[in-house]
């Protein structure tokens, strides 16, 4: 799957995108976020508080309970602040 990060999530993780093979125990976005949290200090910081994060699957806003698959493009970002 492809992962995209925006705003302070991108800064904390230290990259704007990466490819990831879907880990065996990951079925929802929440699982994925908790998995990413274990990948290093930057990830741990970015994913420390899931209530502060929003996500999109294939360019559509979705909740953390959404089921995901290996072909998905997943984006993590803070609540939006445009306009």
């Amino acid at each position: 799957m492809k992962l995209l990060y925006f705003a302070w999530v991108r800064q904390k993780v230290g990259k704007s995108e990466e490819d990831l093979a879907l880990p065996a125990n990951v079925t929802t976005l929440r699982d994925l976020a908790l998995h990413l949290r274990t990948r290093g200090p930057g990830y741990a910081d970015a994913f420390a508080n899931l209530a502060r994060l929003r996500a999109a699957a294939n360019q559509v806003h979705v909740g953390l309970d959404t089921r995901i698959g290996d072909g998905d493009v997943i984006a993590f970002f803070p609540p939006v602040t445009g306009g």
């Binding site: 995209l4 925006f6 705003a7 302070w8 999109a56 360019q59 559509v60 806003h61 984006a75 970002f77 803070p78 609540p79 939006v80 602040t81 445009g82 306009g83």
Partner: protein, 146 residues
């Protein structure tokens, strides 16, 4: 309904956008422009977005507005990159036969752009740069359309 959606670093030309929306049946064009507020030592705003999703999300909102009101045309232009105080950030222009639906749809679109379009702002001040936090009042404004 004619819809024009653009995400761009360049400024926009209000007169040109209104002109592009105007034709025989149009009796009202409501426009909203959001600008960078000066104050508290702000030197600039830096906006980033999620290319592809942002356009899709705004198009979805424009379609929803078109279902709620009889609109004749919509133009949404949102700038990205570094913007100075006083510079325009966003334009929403709505053309309709009458003003009530033009005003309502313009407000509806702004409220939803604020809460759903994938943009993020950073504020630059002389000593530091900080991400803007989302405001609960913006969620409330979008919520009241449900």
């Amino acid at each position: 309904m004619k819809a024009h959606i653009a995400i761009q670093p360049e400024p926009f030309d209000l007169a040109h956008e209104v002109e592009a929306l105007s034709h025989g049946d149009v009796g009202a064009v409501a426009t909203f422009i959001g600008q960078v507020r000066a104050g508290d030592g702000l030197t600039s705003l830096v906006l980033e977005h999620y290319p592809g999703m942002t356009e899709r999300e705004i198009a979805r909102q424009v379609e929803e507005a078109g279902r709620r009101w009889p609109l004749l045309g919509v133009s949404v232009i949102h700038r990205v990159g570094e913007l100075k105080p006083g510079e325009p950030i966003v334009l929403v222009a709505v053309a309709a036969m009458h003003r009530a639906e033009a005003f309502a749809a313009c407000e509806f679109l702004m409220d939803h752009i604020k809460t759903e379009a994938t943009f993020w702002k950073q504020e630059k001040r002389s000593a530091r740069t900080a991400w803007v936090e989302a405001k609960p009042s913006d969620d409330k404004a979008a919520e009241h359309w449900k």
